[in-house]
Subunit: 223 residues, 2 copies
Amino acid sequence: MEIKIVKKLLEENDGQANQLRKALSEKKQLMINFMSSPGSGKTTLLEALIPNLQSMKIRIGVIQGDIATLSDSQRLEHFDIPIVQINTDRFGGECHLSAASVMSALELMPPHSNQIDLILLENIGNLVCPAEFDTGAHINIVVLSLAEGEDKPEKYPLAFRKADIVILNKIDLAEICEVEIALFHANVKKINPRVQIFETSAKKDVGITSVAQKIQSALMEIR
Amino acid sequence: MEIKIVKKLLEENDGQANQLRKALSEKKQLMINFMSSPGSGKTTLLEALIPNLQSMKIRIGVIQGDIATLSDSQRLEHFDIPIVQINTDRFGGECHLSAASVMSALELMPPHSNQIDLILLENIGNLVCPAEFDTGAHINIVVLSLAEGEDKPEKYPLAFRKADIVILNKIDLAEICEVEIALFHANVKKINPRVQIFETSAKKDVGITSVAQKIQSALMEIR
């Protein structure tokens, strides 16, 4: 009985996600879903990406998903862009964002949010559950910190299978962590041969422009 | 309706966990549940801890929880101790270990496993869901990699609230990650003032003996 209900929940979510994606496309708004483990550097990546995207005249809105705290939103406040924070501890500490929660967040965007070109969605730090729930985003990005180890794609295959783009972040730690970046590439490709991989150090502002350019060309495509 | 069923599931799990903990205590077996994000270094920590515990004549069994792959078990194989791997992708990719899955794993331990003193349970890499499911362990340890950032206790409060011990791992990365270890301590204590904190670098074999001694004294207590 529990399994049937979970299946029904996922099917309902898929329906809502498809509906949301279609509505966003009609408004020429692109939504990108960032998924990762806790502490992979998603927020720091957004901090580095946003000024790059703004210099391309892209109008940005952000949805932040967290179980608790407003700290990620506060880190982005100075950009003066619309940010909506979802704290799932109000709803039993849910471990993922659903299409319905994203829809509610979008309704909380300020009135001029129709002029937004790009919605950046920072999912809850969890490499398992968010991958099961389509958020309605057009593009799924998985961020993997090099400090997590090169075995993660095989151990958490669903997230990497669902990814359109994988960002290998914290490449500045490669040497001290004694990891080979080539092995990360190979292990990601083993799970998802078609995925595009970027290398970044969000903290040191390395590789950010390439990601911003990729987002810019994705925006062109839905226009 | 879904909420009621989740509540029922959690209640059932709590009942089974209490039963399992009691059964283990009666056999003078101590079980420790290791929880963390993906890539915090749980397996490396076990690799460092096991020889330390073995030198104290403690007989060890390991239960490895992963969504997919046998890689963690393979890393511990050379210790010649009983290891049971649970791969949840056979059960829909569950994001946590339940008391029932741990009971089943214990039944798969080899016949001489009654002589085990200590069961080390490596939960699935996920800082959210495992904290909701009591595994039946006597002690919950949360491992936090310094590379994940000092804001994690407040962002994932349940895991830290459920922890008896927090291990700050990868302290060798403190300098390059530009983090203050004192801030990690303060943030952990903010969520859980009574928790005991250890600092380790499992990879560089730093701080492991103190953790092993703590486990040894916990073993004394249940005898």
